[in-house]
Symmetry: C2
Subunit: 207 residues, 2 copies
């Protein structure tokens, strides 16, 4: 499924239909890409403006990081669909096939890995949203805040998708390792988002 | 700009470039459409399943409401860009033109109206997410939770976009009316989202 070249309306139709893919994982990757794009726009609208001359370098860094994330997210969206299809293939194997359980468990681990990558990218985007929310062009500040909301939503979507897969994984060590890493990510995300919400309030964008 | 037929990658590129449109408003409408689509998917995966026979009617209602929202959101995305362009046109009028201020104020009011419509749609979608989060197919429950995160993010994006326009509107009555209505919407959104977060916790999707 060539998501990146798919028209928006067609992608929505494919999500909505009675088939689990593309589902939350792929949608989460698309939303994170939209967050990165909005954040990039704010950086672009800040660069070259006299008033923001002190923040040019920071904004250049934002551009670079967001380009990197967007490329990564394209891969994640595709890989999420592939990983889900592998799980479905394993589930459909004959129940008495001795290799079924092993193949299913491997597919589930892979299916938990991909949204975990999404969670990391969402965290990275949110980190860079701090810069645009703090030092970005004030005329586009609502766009910086919007990018932050989307990055945070993408993080939570990723978390849900990791957790739904972990629920079927029997390797306790694997599950515990992932939960611990998710907790660390969650604390980082919470920290970045709390800072941004402070800026939102300070600038009168909270009612 | 024909957003609905635009390939996803191209839409992201257009958002990211050094031009304020498409910006947060159009992106918010697209994200709300993704929320509606995911919610629709969960309803579709619940309908016709024996285990969920008691909730067929509720899920049919979800389908109908999400179709309606998605059509509305396509319009909102287009109108958001048009409204912004009208504001820019007014800003570029000669400063000594006696009709400039009146035309600008009218354009700003229109530009606040469109994200307000988005806020209402996001609230509606979130209301219907309650149904899928509570009674939807458990195999797709992470998708129902994901839809809720996106609807809530779309609501906040809408709020930021209403507020950035209100800041330049001089008609105090208009501003106060909008702030009051936003407060009401915010309370509704908070109520729906709090309920959904309870379900998320109960089902072990919060770490």
């Amino acid at each position: 499924m060539d998501i990146k070249n798919m028209p928006l309306k067609e992608f929505c139709d494919k999500v909505a239909e009675k088939s689990p893919v593309p589902g939350g994982g792929a949608v989460g990757a698309v939303v994170a890409a939209l967050a990165a794009s909005l954040n990039q726009m704010v950086a672009n609208l800040t660069i070259g403006k006299k008033k923001y001359v002190d923040y040019q370098e920071i904004m250049e860094e934002v551009l670079e990081a967001m380009e990197y994330s967007r490329n990564k997210l394209q891969e994640i969206a595709m890989k999420d669909i592939e990983a889900f299809n592998e799980v479905m293939k394993a589930i459909k194997m004959p129940k008495d096939d001795p290799s079924r359980e092993r193949i299913l468990q491997e597919a589930l681990k892979k299916a938990a890995d991909i949204p975990f990558e999404l969670a990391r990218e969402a965290r990275n985007i949110l980190r860079y949203c701090q810069n645009t929310c703090r030092w970005g062009n004030k005329n586009a500040i609502s766009d910086a805040y919007s990018a932050a909301e989307l990055a945070k939503a993408a993080y939570r979507i990723a978390m849900y998708n990791v957790l739904i897969n972990l629920k079927s994984i029997k390797d306790k060590e694997f599950v515990e390792k992932y939960i611990t890493e998710l907790e660390e990510l969650k604390n980082e995300v919470r920290g970045f988002y709390t800072d941004i919400r402070e800026l939102v309030k300070e600038n009168g964008f909270e009612i």
